[in-house]
């Protein structure tokens, strides 16, 4: 979840722009557990309603542990909650991602509030909404039901919610907070919950006063206070229905391919929407840079004009990114679209030195960390391209770079950099970076992007 990029991060490389944190990633618990135990309050003035909710919910809560088979030690912790009598429980996809991707290396088990424990079967995953359905090895007469107004997406803003889970492996906990509607500018629907979610609570339920499920704890914003996010209950209910319709338990090794199919289908939806929204021209110097008209982009601008020593060319940059990153694995997040444009001009540099400035300040390749495990090496093509017959854009220099995801057929990272070539000491550099896209979608959006860069002659 790359929700709402922090201000200071607007100028970093695309790959490292995501700052959302996943509550299930709890490897650092072992170090901090003692210190945390002293500081976690037992909430002395707990309201009577939270007391009642917690008492009722306790037997329906689970802690989900992913263990490394070879060492038989936990490698990640999360929460889950029972939603059916036949042992079905909802958790986050990112809580079970290690098992879903590497079932030969990891195994899962649950731990109940009463100390009961046992193995877990994975039944269904929904990567886009970060959900999974797991099954316990026994019947569970006591389980949660979904809130009807939440399923209809008609919750009143300001309502009090209670989030439950096992933060930092400290024991089951109840946290109260406020419903603040759906997050604007997030491609995936997410509930903005003002309450203290902590690592380990991922996959736990958020309840109404009546104790019915309205959402699933999923993430919080780093560098902020109490800004947390829930997956709306309707997605959990839909995945549960899908899991209940299964005739047989899917093989553990079948989930990797299923995740790949979901990612391909998901990006199709995202890119159809972005292509349909189109680009809007943003005037910058004699050029108009393409910015997406889709609502999920957050843009930040910056300039080098105040830099010391003063640069010999002015560089005014705008960087836009979607809040659409999907967690796939601990070392793999994809799904973002980045749009950058940079208007560079100089009165002091000659054309050669100006070209050198542009070259040093706009690298066309896919940056960030290159993991040979996740990606192939990137391939690039570059050429000079003609203004279209109508002459709406000047001659351009274009560099297209792409790399494939090793584990997921049909998914690529694509970078397309355009640079105007009509003036010798002024240029517009426009850069489109697509993370986890099908080649067809990349080409369609790329073509649209080239067409959207225009100029005044």
């Amino acid at each position: 979840m790359g929700m709402i990029g922090a201000l200071a991060e607007s100028d970093v490389e695309p790959d490292s722009m995501n700052r959302g944190v996943f509550l299930g990633i709890a490897l650092l618990l072992a170090v901090g557990s003692q210190a945390w135990a002293d500081t976690v309050p037992t909430q002395p003035d707990i309201s009577s309603s939270s007391e009642r909710i917690f008492a009722n919910a306790r037997p329906r809560l689970l802690q989900v542990r992913t263990l490394l088979k070879s060492a038989d030690q936990q490698s990640s912790l999360g929460s889950a909650f029972l939603v059916a009598a036949d042992g079905l429980a909802i958790t986050n996809y990112h809580v079970v991602s290690q098992y879903a991707l590497e079932p030969d290396t990891y195994r899962m088990e649950y731990l109940g509030a009463d100390g009961s424990h046992g193995g877990l079967q994975l039944l269904a995953v929904d990567v886009a909404d970060d959900l999974a359905v797991v099954r316990l090895d026994h019947q569970t007469p006591d389980f949660f039901s979904f809130d009807a107004t939440a399923l209809a997406d008609q919750l009143p803003r300001g309502e009090k919610f209670y989030a439950l889970g096992n933060p930092l492996d400290l024991g089951f906990t109840i946290v109260d907070g406020t419903y603040n509607g759906q997050v604007q500018r997030s491609y995936q629907p997410r509930i903005h919950f003002t309450g203290a979610l902590n690592p380990g609570m991922s996959g736990g339920p958020a309840l109404t006063e009546a104790g019915e499920v309205v959402g699933v704890n999923v993430s919080r914003q780093i560098g902020s206070e109490l800004v947390s996010f829930l997956v709306p209950a309707r997605f959990a209910a839909a995945l549960l229905t899908k899991a209940q319709a299964l005739k047989e338990t899917p093989a553990p090794t079948s989930f990797r391919a299923e995740i790949g199919r979901q990612l391909v289908a998901w990006q199709d939806g995202l890119y159809q929407a972005v292509i349909a929204a189109g680009f809007k021209p943003v005037e910058t110097g004699p050029y108009a840079a393409p910015e997406s008209a889709a609502p999920w982009f957050t843009c930040w601008a910056r300039t080098n004009r105040e830099a010391v020593p003063k640069p010999l060319a002015d560089d005014d940059m705008t960087q836009c990114a979607t809040n659409s990153a999907l967690f796939v694995a601990n070392d793999l997040t994809l799904g973002s679209i980045y749009l950058l444009h940079s208007h560079i001009s100089s009165t002091e540099l000659n054309p050669f030195r100006f070209a050198a400035f542009v070259g040093q300040n706009s690298v066309p390749v896919i940056g960030g960390n290159y993991s040979r495990k996740s990606y192939t090496r990137q391939q690039c093509r570059e050429d000079f391209i003609e203004a279209d017959p109508l002459g709406t854009h000047p001659p351009l220099r274009a560099v297209w770079c792409s790399r494939a995801y090793r584990e997921f057929d049909g998914l690529y990272d694509v970078s397309l950099q355009l640079m105007t070539e009509d003036r010798s000491t002024e240029t517009l550099v426009a850069h489109l970076f697509l993370q986890g896209v099908s080649y067809d979608n990349a080409e369609s959006l790329g073509k649209l992007f080239i067409g959207a860069l225009t100029w005044r002659k």
């Binding site: 050669f352 030195r353 050198a356 090496r377 000079f384 790329g446």
Partner: protein
């Protein structure tokens, strides 16, 4: 008047011979002190050879019955005697003898040729290299000019060139007697200048033709230049054995090319540049403009490469 006969005794190879001027009608050669020419070679018999004019007046040599015998030139066949005309080398024991009469012909004197001074050319190359690097460094630097920095990259190359010149002068001195440092300097600095020019042209053509690989032309040309320089250095030492020198230089190129190809197949080490790093003004474009669709069709070819790499590229 007695006839003069010269006997040249060469006791060891690569040493100037010792010449003996003799006027006897018969000359004896051996280790014993009753000979006209006394040799210290232990493999020579006390009385080994006899030199005389035969009945026809020809100069002859005859083995006096030695154990190790008499051989002619490089032949392995022992002979008992032979007529001489001054062109043969006789071998007895481990000693070589050449016997010549006073009328043996010698080639005419060689004129003393004064070598042209070529140091101004070496200086010219050095100035051109420095100038080229300064201008190129400045044009590539979009920040406040810093001339000192532009030559930093050149220093190792200059050091290499100087060491190369020194080593070849030393080799020249040993094998041909003259260091000829000016000529070796011209070769080394000339090669470095050509290398600088190729490096620049490679960068310019990479941008002009949108072909990033052209920027690596310097990596290939450096070995070819080294081989050419090697050949010229060898020619400066001595004009002979052209075929040997040529094949030695070609061998250097072949080894370098094979080495580079091996490095390229080891994809972990050398990654060819995927994009043009050095941008130039728009007027340096040399390829015709492509249409959007032609460009996008080209990018489609990447997809197949990537799909293959997905399964084939080592992790």
């Amino acid at each position: 008047m007695a006839e003069v006969i010269w006997v040249e005794v060469q006791a060891r190879p690569n040493e100037p011979p010792v010449r003996h001027r003799l006027t006897q009608t018969e000359i004896r050669v051996g280790r014993a002190y009753d000979n006209d020419i006394v040799l210290d070679d232990p493999h020579v018999a006390p009385a080994h050879l006899r030199l005389f004019r035969d009945e026809t007046g020809a100069l002859r040599v005859e083995d006096l019955g030695s154990r190790n015998g008499l051989y002619l030139d490089r032949s392995k066949t022992r002979i008992t005697g032979t007529a001489l005309n001054g062109t043969e080398t006789l071998r007895i024991g481990r000693t070589r003898l050449v016997i010549r009469t006073a009328d043996h012909p010698v080639p005419p004197e060689l004129p003393i040729v004064r070598e042209r001074r070529v140091w101004p050319l070496a200086i010219l190359f050095l100035v051109l290299i420095l100038g080229l690097e300064m201008v190129s460094g400045w044009l590539n630097d979009p920040s406040i000019a810093n001339p000192g920095r532009y030559l930093n990259g050149l220093l190792p190359y200059l050091a290499f060139t100087a060491i190369w010149t020194g080593i070849w002068s030393l080799i020249s001195r040993v094998f041909s007697g003259a260091a000829r440092i000016e000529r070796h300097a011209v070769i080394a600095f000339g090669a470095l200048f050509v290398f600088s020019v190729i490096d620049e042209l490679g960068d310019i053509s990479a941008f002009a033709f949108s072909a990033p690989l052209l920027a690596t032309v310097d990596d290939w040309s450096e070995w070819i230049l080294i081989a050419i320089a090697l050949y010229l250095n060898l020619r400066v030492i001595g004009p002979g054995r052209v075929a040997l020198k040529l094949s030695g230089s070609i061998a250097v190129v072949v080894v370098a090319v094979i080495y580079r190809l091996i490095m390229l197949t080891d994809s972990q080490r050398v990654i060819p540049p995927s994009f043009v790093h050095r941008l130039l003004p728009p007027s340096f474009r040399a390829t015709p403009l492509k249409t959007e669709d032609a460009f996008l069709a080209e990018t489609r070819s990447i997809k197949e490469t990537l799909d293959k790499a997905r399964s084939q590229e080592p992790k």
